[in-house]
Symmetry: C2
Subunit: 359 residues, 2 copies
């Protein structure tokens, strides 16, 4: 179908339909921006494929989707014994944990669902199903609240008349709604500020072109699409006063893993004295990872580069190198915007302080 | 047709077929790497369109093609009076000068052909045709000789076991043969050195993926294709010891205009202490341009970004910013490899000294 001018507001990439016997509906992000297709996930394998194939992507959205995945796993054995549904949830969570290697939210959400299931040992299947459903909804609602809070804390960074560069998609489509990096933009927009957003297209999968430009356009925000290699020139021309991106995992010292190309943007922003912020909820931090060097980087297939967009873009058989993420060292970040406030400057101590705050 | 494993060697993107009444044959570079299609240019308009549409591209190749274009212009009035063919050459050169705005070789080659035509005032049409033909062949042959000399001077920069990053295509396909930046690579390869080349795909038109990776693969050189935004990560991983690129125009102070993204690569290379060299013949220098700020930057259409590869890659109607070139300041360059030797360090004095050398 053609893209309607306006979709539902706020834009939500995932929604549970029905009760404990319902299903998870995903906006298939591989079909944007030309088609709005909704995908019904009624079992763990369909969801595993959807996460693996980036139909749902963005660390927080993957976390929410995986939480609902635990409910789908439960459903598959809800008529069995307690041991059986417990085993099904365990197996489903294990399977979903193998869908993507880098996003810490995935593991976090699955652990939380697994722990909730553990706590239900001995409960009736019906009660357990409702409790797991409620837990998944809570994860989603907390994510939405976190995104709103990130927007509130970070909106101050976007003054009237500035240019903001973002890379990849850390927007509504990457979360339950509203986004992390784009939460600042939505919040500043809601506060009536006027500014210009530049979106890196973000090769190889073009999340910036297909998703960020699309969702900002939907929201009526002034957005200009550029190729990744134009960011330096756009900065040199003085068009950018702020860079804001999301993160897939942040180490204890503030080093942040995000979509490939983020590190290059950080180096370029630093050279042009443009402050760069990461926006991410506290669940994106992984204190068991001391620094960026300890973050595993997913390597993806050559075809994403050599056969982009259903066309052959490179010569047959050419070798490609395709790291899906890179790590931006903390010293290149002006700050990290969390749902509790801004970590600034970014180092082991300030990260630790922000994460230990209660609430 | 499918791409044959080996094409003629050396690879030539343009060749004149026949005598003064012959035509220019171009390898249509918009069809690579999936199809090898040769385009016959029998008039100025066909060539104008071919230059405009990047069927022939790369500053030196455009210069050679334009020189032959003056012969095509002459042909159109070769049966007329001396005033008529003189006027036809003048008009043809003027038209071809409007095909692309940035490449100084284009203007240089057309000026040279125009001056040659001027010098033939009073000559018989047949003699004039042969003289113009000879002049165009001389421009091509001098270009080929310059490329070989650049390779000889620059090959020393590529030691055994190094990784070399290049951006866009400054190879055989961008010149009459052998290339400028890639001349170093071909020369080092011919000298038996073993090394690894990383080719930026070079959005939006993918000259790196379609052309550089293809021609290096044809030559049996170890080449790995990456997306533009991966260059920083590849450098951080220690895989790159040298960056070498071409140039479309170099100002008197050594500031170099080249394909968009080159400046970003320079900033990133500088941050990683990787030396970056430009390779270009002395005709690429424009001493009437004092510095990079005075180089006009061609802006191209939004469709190249939002409708890449025959597919919609951005949302309908999205604004795009598409500068085709950027300028790398001289201070980010370790040197400029010319056919006379390496300018190192790069500044107004060293540029002036190299250009004033006779021979």
């Amino acid at each position: 179908m053609a893209v309607p001018t306006k979709l539902e507001s706020p834009l939500r990439p995932l929604q549970w339909r029905g009760g404990t016997d319902g299903h998870l509906e995903l906006l298939d992000q591989t079909r944007l921006p030309t088609e709005v297709v909704r995908l019904a996930c009624r079992d763990v394998e369909t969801l595993w494929e959807a996460i693996r194939s980036l139909r749902v992507r963005g660390a927080p959205a993957i976390g929410c989707a995986a939480a609902y995945g635990a409910v789908l796993a439960f459903q598959s054995a809800s008529r069995g014994s307690a041991a059986e549904w417990m085993e099904a949830v365990e197996r489903g969570c294990k399977r979903l944990a193998e869908s993507r290697p880098t996003a810490v939210n995935l593991f976090w959400a699955l652990d939380r669902m697994r722990r909730r299931a553990e706590s239900l040992r001995g409960a009736a299947a019906r009660d357990a199903g409702e409790a797991l459903m409620a837990e998944a909804h809570a994860i989603r609602d907390e994510d939405a609240a976190m995104c709103r809070a990130i927007g509130r804390h970070g909106a101050e960074l976007i003054g009237d008349g500035v240019g903001v560069l973002t890379h990849c998609n850390a927007g509504a489509l990457a979360t339950s709604e509203y986004g992390t990096a784009l939460a600042l933009i939505y919040a500043a927009h809601e506060q009536g500020r006027r500014f210009k957003v530049f979106a890196d297209e973000t090769r190889p999968l073009l999340q910036g072109a297909r998703l960020t430009a699309w969702e900002l356009q939907q929201a009526g925000i002034d957005v200009t699409l550029i190729c990744d290699n134009m960011a330096a020139q756009v900065m040199r021309e003085g068009r950018i006063q702020l860079v804001v991106v999301g993160a897939d995992r942040i180490a204890a010292n503030g080093d942040a893993a995000n979509k490939i190309g983020t590190y290059g943007v950080a180096v370029i922003a630093h050279a042009h004295k443009v402050p760069m912020y990461v926006a991410a909820p506290r669940t994106t931090f992984d204190l068991s990872t001391p620094n960026g060097a300890a973050i595993p980087i997913e390597q993806r297939g050559a075809d994403e580069i050599s056969h982009g967009f259903g066309r052959v873009t490179g010569p047959p058989g050419v070798a490609c190198y395709n790291p899906a993420f890179d790590v931006t060292p903390a010293e290149l970040l002006a700050g990290i915007v969390t749902e509790r406030g801004i970590i600034r400057p970014v180092n082991r101590e300030t990260v630790s302080k922000m994460l230990s705050e209660k609430g």
